[in-house]
Amino acid sequence: MRYASIDCLKTVAIVVMVLVHFAENLSGVQLPITGLGAPLFTFLSGLSYRLWVHGLEAKGTNDEEISKRSIRRGLFVFAVGFAFNILVWLPEDTFNWDVLTMIGFALLVLNGLRRLPVVISVFFALGTILISPLLRGMADYQSYWVKGYFEVDLTLPDVMIGFLATGFIPIFPWISYSIAGLVTGTILFRDQSAGLSTSSIVSSDSSNSFVSKLISNGLLPVLTGCVLISFSGVLLALRPYLPKVLSTHFLEGWHMFPPTIEYVLATIGMASLLFGLTHRWIDRKRSRFFTAGMLDITKTFSQYSFTIYVVHHMVHLWPLWVYGFIMDHENYYWREAMSLRWSFPLAVLFLVVCYFVLRKIGPDRRLGIEGWMRWLCD
């Protein structure tokens, strides 16, 4: 089943990432929304995975086949991540560990977690968040980062360390976003896997606990999001008063690089809150604010989110690389090609053109990364 709320949030994530990347890579400006797109995107990847599994189960696909497809999809996205690094960031950044390699690996892990009780996934996600500062401390995180960018020697240990803890989007703690999405989907849409109508679930659970009522009302993600954001705020506020061991090695303030505990908790909370609200206002009670035209736009962006993620990098980075190659300087105009006055409208123009091109292609044609993935993996 397709949920308009997920389409809307994927569109938001893509728009945020396009705007942030254009502004950062062309103008060297960090927008206030920097660091909010990737968490939402990875959270939604876990949520979409759960819905995809539910869809296959509803069609009667057996568990082994789902596992095979999940693994093929995970490896495909992982490989696309490498191809993306090589083609977009050039071969020397092959192992910078971007979001695609993380999502690819996460799909392999989610395939294992999808059959386990939710509490185990939650425990695993918490574990990955809590040991991340430890791993970063052991690896000396800052030594891998030069002028705000991840630089790695092509040695197996450094590559592995980058993959696990010090890369752009390392497994620890970023996999917790995908797991959080999976858990949210499992709890909220469990009626689909049980083959029951929503009404029967509501009626069966309505007489039970407070949590059951929250689930049936779709308010659990909202409450979870609020709790996580508040908890992160409390941690940020308390940090100056905590012992130095904790305030420097465990709670490191608000950073995306490295993704601190406060950042991870707050952004998971944000993703959960946004999903809870949109699910309630769009999927359950269609708000008048969301017209059919708007939902059509979000559906188009959502169906091609991976493709847009790759293409928008190509569109704004390749001209820089080509010009740098001509000028015999690889990073020529890097972060200083134009002012924000130009890069921002260019990002908007890209999104508009993207929308019309993708509408022209249509959702059923197997073009773009999503189409290739279905062709190869399903």
């Binding site: 189960e57 059959r115 386990l116 009780p117 509490v119 185990i120 425990f123 695993f124 574990g127 990955t128 040991i131 430890l134 791993l135 052991m138 690896a139 000396d140 030594s143 891998y144 030069v146 630089e151 790695v152 020697d153 040695t155 240990p157 450094d158 592995m160 360390i161 696990l164 803890a165 620890f172 469990r190 009626d191 896997s193 049980a194 083959g195 029951l196 029967s200 679930i201 069966s204 659970d205 039970n208």
Partner: protein
């Protein structure tokens, strides 16, 4: 002990549990207009079976105490009432016509037309004659033609027996509607897994419903299977004939055998759920230990990785 002139029930082996109230004089508010051509002394009463006895209602008969049900005279304007569990209660109309000769064909025609005029009944009219009494009935209307002195006894006998008939029909309907659900639940009697966990409450409710049906069925058994009363009375014979005509015994047996299938499925479901929930708790603990070990191994492996070669800071 039965004393002449005192209230008496004719139907069950548990006579002492029954209260037969001889308050059968109609009040102007309760009795309904009689059909045209019906002789004087006739009475038309809307009878309702209810679990909550309202003092405003006139009590006609108290069913055996395990059923907690009373037959009362319903109000004319209120055709259907609800019982304690919220189930709608069917109202049955009883027309008692004093008749020395039931073979009066004109009278037969009138009561026949009256019974047929029922808009709520889904069954055709049936007829039975017994020792000077004649009964016409369908699902919602009973017309009794009998000598005046026997009318009350016959009506009471029919009230109780038709309640058993209606109750059995209700069980049949409940079971009939539960078959698709049972077929849906059948795989869970063999295998219960994580995905089925949200259905636990629903299965529990269905198990309870099946148990409830079994309980109601068993409570009726002594009355459905009760042997012929000796010495026989007209009322007791009428009730026996009615039980035969409505095939209460066979229907009871069929429901009993159908329930066995339901019980087998839901017993096994309950067993599977219990086993699964118990093993799940153990598995969760095992998985938590495994995750802790994995995280420990990650840290351990990471320590080896970081100690293999000093990190070179890129220039």
């Amino acid at each position: 002990m039965w004393l002449p002139g005192s209230p008496r029930t004719f139907l069950t082996p548990f006579r002492h549990q029954l209260i037969f109230t001889a308050m059968l004089e109609p009040s102007s508010q309760e009795s309904r207009p009689l059909p045209n051509g019906i002789p004087a002394g006739s009475e038309l009463l809307p009878v309702v079976f209810t679990e909550d006895r309202n003092k405003g209602h006139r009590l006609l008969h108290t069913l055996p105490k395990e059923f907690h049900t009373f037959a009362v005279v319903g109000h004319s304007g209120r055709s259907v009432e609800g019982d304690r569990s919220g189930n709608p209660t069917q109202q049955i109309e009883f027309l008692t016509v004093p008749s020395a000769s039931y073979q009066a064909s004109e009278l037969q025609d009138i009561v026949g037309v009256w019974v047929d005029a029922s808009t709520t009944s889904k069954t055709p009219r049936q007829m039975m004659t017994l020792q000077g009494a004649e009964i016409h009935w369908n699902e919602t209307r009973f017309a009794i033609l009998a000598p005046p002195e026997r009318l009350e006894a016959l009506r009471t006998a029919l009230i109780e027996t038709c309640w058993f008939d209606a109750e059995l029909a209700r069980l049949e309907r409940e079971l009939a509607s539960a078959w698709p659900e049972m077929h849906q639940d059948m795989p869970l009697a063999f295998n219960f897994d994580e995905k089925s966990l949200p259905r636990r409450k629903e299965l529990q409710r269905r198990f309870e419903r099946v148990t409830s049906i079994r309980s109601r069925l068993l409570r009726m058994s002594p009355y459905v299977y009760c042997p012929h009363i000796y010495p026989p009375t007209l009322a007791s014979q009428l009730a026996e004939r009615y039980r035969e005509r409505t095939r209460l015994l066979h229907r009871h047996e069929i429901i009993d055998s159908q329930l066995e299938v339901f019980e087998r499925v839901y017993d096994n479901c309950g067993q599977r759920i219990s086993d699964f929930v118990q093993s799940r708790t153990g598995h969760i603990l095992e998985w938590i230990i495994i995750i802790l070990l994995v995280l420990q191994m990650v840290i351990w492996g990471f320590e080896i990785l970081t100690s293999l070669e000093p990190t070179t800071v890129a220039q």
